[in-house]
């Protein structure tokens, strides 16, 4: 996933209150730009994707990873 450099203010590693918690939680979660790949309507079954490609006369685009690309790889 994205490895673009970004500078951030120092975070409190262990949040002491709700405000610090929100800051840490937000920092760890991916930003909108980092989630654009989730907007693609990925099929999750190769056989079903082939059928759909045949019906719509389109080529397949396969994202293949060691581990499920839509989860942890």
């Amino acid at each position: 996933m994205s490895n673009l450099a970004r500078s951030q203010p120092p975070l409190t590693s262990v949040p002491a209150d709700a405000q610090q918690f929100d800051k840490l939680h937000t920092f760890i979660k991916p930003k909108i730009d980092e989630l654009r790949w989730t907007e693609i309507p990925w099929e999750i079954d190769l056989g079903h994707a082939r059928q759909k490609a045949a019906l719509q006369n389109r080529p397949l685009f396969i994202w293949a990873m060691n581990g499920n690309p839509l989860g942890c790889t």
């Binding site: 490895n3 840490l24 939680h25 989730t38 990925w42 719509q56 293949a64 060691n66 499920n68």
Partner: protein
């Protein structure tokens, strides 16, 4: 991307199948960037554009967006010239098989997204790679988080099987690459508690606190790409905090936000830490997952047979 049918696939599983999907993937992959290769590994991961009959249009293995865009342009150009383009018949051998554990999704339970990334060092320059996993809860595990008689201010233990499962399978340094899960003996300290913050007719607000320390002996496995090996212990020492809101009428959580933050150290064969052994700050964040193909992706650990059995047995038999 609109001109393609996009599909995501776990190729380490598919490339070993002997059915139609496995044969199709291998047919495509053997024409691609890693075709015929067995060293340093036999991985076929990457991006492939192809026709439904398995004719490769283009392939690449990269995280560079410009290279991917160029690969897609080349594929579409070849597609426009391909005689295969007119092939509209349904692929032979399609067996409508649920092959990737999506069918054991806990429909009546709960699913959390788990994100992980490095936290800023004092130098302020931090690797911004991140990763995503999912945590599955069966329905009875969700209800088991709620005390029978909730009293504001009281605290109680997070169910131990759940806390140990989270520590073992999900608090793993995968920020920059894949990593094996912990073994039971690696769990040195797992403590999680829930404190009742507020009780109303409609809702119970809970605060999660906890500590997890995991440490494993070095594997001494050699990374076949870099020839480096993990020859020091690896570990995490994390503090957990979280805010949970339970909807009493719907019998589900409306909020399950939590963090686990602290130190990680050491490396595993493929988690890209050989040049960043730490100790260094790492953070995990949980939130409720949205019901989508991405949100329904099974936990990574489910692909380990013993772990799959753990989830599957729970689903079927409730234990």
């Amino acid at each position: 991307m609109d001109q393609f049918i996009p599909v995501a696939d776990n190729c380490s599983y598919t490339q070993n199948l002997s059915d139609a999907s496995g044969e199709f993937f291998c047919l495509v992959a053997e024409q691609g960037h890693y075709g015929g290769r067995s060293l340093p590994t036999n991985t076929r991961q990457g991006l492939y554009a192809c026709t439904i009959n398995g004719e490769l249009l283009a392939s690449i293995n990269t995280r560079d967006g410009n290279q991917v865009a160029e690969m897609m342009r080349q594929a579409l150009q070849k597609w426009s010239q391909s005689v295969d383009q007119s092939a509209k018949q349904s692929p032979a051998g399609y067996d409508n098989r649920a092959n990737n554990w999506y069918d054991v999704y806990p429909e009546d339970g709960m699913v959390l997204n788990l994100y992980v990334r490095d936290l800023p060092h004092q130098s302020a320059q931090v690797d911004t790679r991140w990763n995503l996993d999912h945590i599955w809860f069966a329905a009875d595990e969700v209800s088991g988080l709620i005390p029978g008689n909730p009293v504001t201010g009281h605290s109680y233990s997070f169910p131990q099987p759940l806390s140990r499962r989270i520590a073992k399978l999900h608090l793993v340094d995968i920020a920059c690459g894949e990593s094996p899960r912990w073994k039971s003996d690696d769990l040195k300290r797992v403590e999680m508690r829930l404190r009742v913050q507020q009780v109303t007719v409609d809702q119970i607000d809970l605060y999660l606190e906890g500590t997890v320390r995991n440490e494993a002996e070095p594997s001494h496995n050699i990374n076949p790409f870099t020839q480096q090996k993990a020859d020091m212990p690896r570990g995490v020492e994390l503090e957990l905090r979280g805010y949970l809101n339970y909807n009493r009428s719907a019998k589900k959580f409306d909020r399950f936000d939590a963090t686990a933050s602290g130190l990680r150290w050491g490396a595993t064969t493929y988690n890209a830490r050989f040049n960043d052994l730490g100790p260094a700050q790492i953070g995990f964040a949980w939130e409720l997952a949205v019901d989508s193909n991405v949100g329904r992706t099974p936990p990574q650990a489910i692909f380990q047979p013993t772990i799959f059995n753990q989830y599957e047995l729970r689903r079927k038999f409730g234990h």
